[in-house]
Amino acid sequence: MELTIWEGDYGLPSICPDCIYMMLYTKIAKVPIVYKHRNNPYWDMGESFPIFKHGGIYTSNIQLIIGYLRIKRYGTEFGLSSKQCSQSYAFSSLVENSLRPILEYVWWVDHRNYEQFTKPWFVKAMPMPVNYLYPRCRRQRAVALLASLFSECENQDLLASFMFNMAEKCFATLKVRLGTANYFYGAVPTSLDAMIYAYLAPLMKLPFPSNEISRLLNTYKELVDFIRRIDAEYYPDLKKEVRFAVGEEKDNSTEASPLSVRAKLAALIFAVSAMLLYASTHKALPKLFIFY
């Protein structure tokens, strides 16, 4: 079995929450699986990681992967009662409904974070032509998700305060549920733990420039301890160093100026070629040369 995932950074096993979730799930379920770190999803014929491969099976749908692993007798919830299963299912939909939009907002939609952290990181981590394309597409997807969940999306301040309130409620709910236990259901982590870790760890570890929600998370000691506990248990040898560091402010400005020159050059070439194309299709090319 093989799982293709995003590169990790800043002490995260991977940069994408879905990948973290799948990695941790397979680790908890003790699946014999090979992780392949990649930095270009377009190369692997898909737009998103993780990609699961086993024999002829090739999918990036998380539900399908979990279903397939369950058929192969790898699961994390075999010890739970039916009521606990039902609860875990309900909580996972709470996480899907609130933590996922919060993370998408902080990571992709918040303007300052996107311009100063997310975009530079992906520009640096991905290979040349697609690194400008991917962040833009990914941001559009995040905006579409927020628009479909919350109809009022235009006013940035309102959206920010709404997200903050939602994060507060969600963290409080999770804190109550976790209580003083090590994991959500007793001593052994389940898929719910993996899911919550996948959405909370990036919020805690990534250095976002506007970090109100991250700071809020740090005030919930139980949740922070929970993340540290999973780190210590499953990723003891994860490097904390930064690999695709976002450059300093100065570097950014020097990088920006050649980019704009390049953009101007591209625009110029495009305009000239369009003019020539138009002239040639309308049989005006000979006239043009005669005139000069």
Binding site: S86, S93, L94, E96, L158, S161, F162, T173, V176
Partner: protein, 347 residues
């Protein structure tokens, strides 16, 4: 949804519940769609549980009057508050709440299950309403006479006119329906529901019902003997799904829910105790008759599902065809316009 916060900031005087509060919703008989109906019923049940008087106003454009674009919403003094979550918060600020007897762990549970229902049953209803061609033609759709002059007979079987177009005059109903549908499809796509077949949607609903039954156990309501907003929301969805005839998958939505006896009983209990009406939810006669009819055709549940699988795949094909058709017409229109422009230039 973000309006809830706006209210929280501007809400200073905590007045008691005033008289003449109005609840706005679409026309119940002609216009209302499945997901809207579920939400409206949930809010009505919630307000009745709180013993709050509201006057129900039916408006054709309730959706556009609403601050968040979703129905139903209440008008209380100068405030417009939409959707169950917003209304629960708003009523809570007036000091009226159904959840005071819960401890913090139960509150956490309540929020999780509310999210579960919104996350599974909501999109499932939207899916059946907007993506399933069979439903669009037969149930959600009104008469299609306007279409005859608009497109040929073959297309109008595929292109559909939902009930929500029924209150608008001729060209507007088509435009409104089309734009609404594309919006819904876009939303379902981002939530990952659009790619699912009808069979998978049924599976999701079944898992959700199973989880709710497991949580309900043998209790009267979810949290002991007193009802909460969770009960109201579940009632809204279950009642709507049980009583609305959906052609998709031969009304199998209702049959899936009927398999979960506790949910039906829970729904019936709220129906009689809160709403004060007795609806025959089981429809035993109808069920028996139909069972006799169905047995030769549908021998096992698995066979059923195979059938829906096929239907589900066909549906996606239909929608693609329809967009193709639209695209072609747009192209044609463009060609005609170009031709007119050229002729003018020549003239």
């Amino acid at each position: 949804m973000a309006l809830i916060d706006k209210i929280q900031y501007h809400f200073e005087a905590q007045e008691p519940w005033p008289k003449g509060v109005k609840l706005f919703q679409p026309y119940e008989v002609e216009q209302i769609l499945l997901p809207h109906n579920a939400n409206c019923l949930a809010v009505q049940a919630f307000l009745r549980m709180c013993n709050l008087d509201v006057q129900i106003e039916q408006r054709p454009n309730a959706e556009f009057m609403s601050p968040t674009g979703k129905v139903p919403f209440i008008k209380c003094g100068a405030f417009l508050v939409a959707e169950l979550e917003g209304i629960v918060t708003f009523v809570g600020q007036k000091g009226i709440t159904l959840t005071e007897h819960l401890d913090s762990e139960q509150t956490a549970d309540l929020r999780a299950y509310l999210a579960l229902i919104n996350n599974v049953l909501g999109p499932a209803e939207n899916y059946v309403c907007w993506c399933d061609s069979e439903t669009l033609i037969n149930n959600v759709l009104g008469p299609a006479e306007n279409y005859v002059c608009w497109c040929d007979s073959e297309t109008y079987r595929e292109v559909t006119k939902p009930r929500n177009g029924s209150v608008y005059p001729w060209p507007l109903n088509l435009i409104q329906t089309w734009s609404k549908r594309s919006k819904q499809i876009k939303a379902l796509k981002t939530l990952g529901w659009y790619e699912k077949s009808l069979y998978e949607v049924f599976q999701e609903v079944e898992t959700c019902c199973q989880a709710l039954t497991d949580r309900l156990e043998n209790n009267t309501y979810f949290f002991g003997t007193k009802f909460t907003e969770l009960d109201a929301l579940l009632y809204g969805h279950v009642y709507t799904l049980l009583t609305t005839r959906i052609p998709a998958g031969h009304n199998n939505f209702a049959q899936i829910i009927r398999k979960f006896d506790r949910l039906v009983k829970h729904c019936k209990r709220i129906d009689s105790q809160v709403m004060g009406r007795e609806t025959d939810l089981i429809q035993s006669e109808w069920l028996q008759a139909s069972k006799a009819d169905l047995t030769p055709a549908f021998k096992t549940y698995e066979e059923d599902m195979e059938k829906y699988k096929k239907i589900g795949h066909d549906t996606i094909g239909d929608i693609e065809k329809e967009t193709d058709w639209l695209w072609k017409n747009i192209k044609k229109l463009g060609m005609i316009l170009l031709a007119i422009l050229k002729r003018k230039q020549i003239g």
